[in-house]
Subunit: 259 residues, 4 copies
């Protein structure tokens, strides 16, 4: 399982959250607490929004703590909306294309969890990716497949419903394949304006997900960044968040949001 | 277009051919002669056979001349059968998974050329890869697809016919897609005993391919390694080679070898 | 010899100069014109100034054209002052620490050229670096040594004189060592406000250096970025530039600026 | 602190020790037991001897477990004498040049430990490296400095005494600098015939070092590779080993071996 962190609010340096806090994302690379795999050293990635509509993607296969470019860029880049991720592989190779976040057009997406046995049904997942998005299929993870399937299911029109539907479809394939856990899903995604997040599992073990509201904005993360635990709100399983303008909406994570 | 080089014969150091000659493969990275793209710096790879049945694969995304590990390994590894490749991308990304050679079981395979427009029909190529070999689909090149399709068509039973059939199938997709050149194909492949090679194109521009017979073995290469041009025999278009025990068989490159 | 490019003026995207023009820096990686080595694929680097006093350094050993992170960052980062460099090694290894620009505090520095035989007198160069700056000695190039020696000679107080003095000292060592060319020096450096540049050689072959004044700012570069040659002004040997506020001062490149 | 492993005996595949055992070196990257830093993911390296006098060096900055080339080469390379190392940095950067083992001529060397405060007196260490070996000073670690200083002190003539003298010299600098621990030293080195090792510290905390004698050869390692603890012999502090022909000599680690 991986670790993830997102910010939506006033512009701030990436390093303020990625490197600096007591329990920053880079710290979690070596010492994740609420996590079965305490080491997340199979690459990392960040997507942030500048004044272009599409995000800037920076990803690499080194452990986050040992990349001097990451430290530099985090120290010099300010943004009001970003996603950051450190990876612990569940089977697929350590390659830049398998690092999160993934991006297509204005959208970025990152995932913590897995579809059990996904290495066995990758071809089927590939087939489920619409032709229009197939050239964005750069790696082999089920996470990237969920994102591209969601794009095909109408992410623009229904940002939560489309992801829920994609998760449901991929879970169904895992279920049919008979491999467990069918689906573990903690994720954040963004269109450059709103930040979305969801927590879900096909069993009792939904990946941890928290948020905290500050005056200047909102952090969503797989584990609290400091020991002031009471300030962090745990997202419940089967729930999704929409973060915008300092406000957090907590909604059901279903395929029929609009309905 | 890329540059490739293969050896089948007495054990020798990789560096004897990859680094040392007047016009070695690493030299060709910067100064290819018979080639539209004189720079081949989008990664490299080697597959060599030791005393295990499957080949050893060493591939990386740096230019071959700047990888100190490659220089070391080439200087210390002796083998009687190897394939080596330097890459100039025709569109797909510079990633290890897109570097040649590719390998599956005992087989290794490398390609110089392209199927025109392959980025547009990658999903279709992926669908043509048999389920049994899909987990060997690591990158996005049409070259790797040809190899995996050939495996599904019976590479073990008919090493030349299966590759010819795979090339034909991929060419058909390119033709249907209306993108040229439909197929340019210079390639070497091996099962650990024999070395195979073929030269073919759907138009008049089949990628160059040469071989030379020495007392100790045979070199197959996309361009001669020295200026003793008369010693190098040009493979003709639509022909395939089988190299074994110092002998070279020159055969038609057709799908019906056995027939 | 390497290729270099710098901008001082209105904030603009890095990619506008590094990737976009007819003859951009990334284009020059493969097709340098005014250069003995047309391939500059031994790494690259950029230093840009944001709202912190010290520059942001992004350097890597891949060819500039094949790094997807570089393309992303160049597309999303705007700055009014930056240095960019593509490297063709003159002997030292391809490693991030040997890539330009170098940085220390507010200063950044990049160099095109060489001190002949520098691999033979590296220890002596190291000894010339003041203790206070020795922890910034990360690689083995004579370029980095010149920069750190200049820092020790008072770069803050006399930005041109200190570099000229450092060049003179290193040239003296090369001269004593009897290796030619003793010194070839085309360089840009910056304190985050002004952009400095100089052109010099101990023989007749000073590395090329040009600048062009636009309404929005000034480009300094080792070769013109477009075919409108008349708009580019060639810096003469033994001359230095100070660029600030859209103005270019052309001064002698001597150790006694203040005198 | 790092983890290290060496073999001297009958030729065997590198992977038999580096990847396969219960507690292999690659396993120790994530789960070192007898070690303050359980994660050793700041690069790795191997030096092995083939039929050339000098060793083959393969080093990289990725965690050992995520490098597909390392897995391939370890699976296909057989050797009777090798050194392998996984690194946890004590301050110097994650770069290939700072990865162990180091090599010069026929010699290879790797180290687990540190000279306290070495970042503060690197210039002094550099000055202690003889001119003849200065071009082998590629990185910035005190480990590499100890090796090159030992070469200058006569490693060929007195392989244990020269290392002990180099350790003493570097410890003296640390002592003078007032930084602790002055010296922690667990190391292996080889001339291609014999394998040497030593365990030492300026305080009570000498880095752990063990060996085990098999019918086919001898393993020296920073921690046992399996749970059959009684079979592993702990090297005592201030002792050195000479391994040759299946025999282990246990000697004092002093500067005056010959005396």
């Amino acid at each position: 399982m991986c670790r993830l962190l997102a910010w939506n609010g006033a512009p701030r340096y990436l390093e303020d959250l990625v490197f600096v806090p007591e329990h920053s994302l880079v710290h979690q690379c070596r010492n994740a607490l609420i996590c079965k795999t305490p080491i997340n050293a199979d690459g990392f990635g960040m997507a942030w929004y500048s004044d272009r509509p599409e995000p800037c993607l920076y990803k690499d296969t080194h452990p986050a703590w040992s990349d001097p470019n990451l430290a530099q860029i985090s120290r010099h880049t300010k943004t009001g909306l970003f996603l950051a991720h450190v990876r612990a592989s569940t089977g697929t190779a350590t390659s830049r294309n398998n690092c999160h976040p993934f991006a297509s057009g204005k959208w970025s997406f990152m995932h913590n969890g897995q579809a059990g046995g996904h290495m066995q049904f990758r071809k089927r997942l590939d087939t489920m990716i619409p032709d229009a998005y197939y050239n964005h299929r750069l790696g082999g993870t089920e996470s990237e497949a969920i994102f591209l399937i969601a794009l095909g299911l109408g992410l623009d029109a229904d940002p939560i419903g489309a992801v829920a539907a994609a998760v449901q479809q991929v879970e169904a394939v895992s279920r049919e394949n008979g491999t467990t856990p069918h689906m573990r899903f903690g994720a954040c995604w963004s269109d450059g304006t709103r930040l979305y997040a969801a927590r879900y599992a096909s069993d009792r073990h939904a990946p941890s997900l928290y948020y905290r509201v500050y005056k200047e904005g909102v952090i969503v993360t797989s584990e609290p960044l400091d020991s002031d635990i009471s300030a962090w709100i745990e997202v419940q399983p089967n729930r999704a968040l929409v973060v915008e303008g300092g406000e957090v909406m907590d909604l059901p994570f279903t395929t029929a949001l609009a309905a």
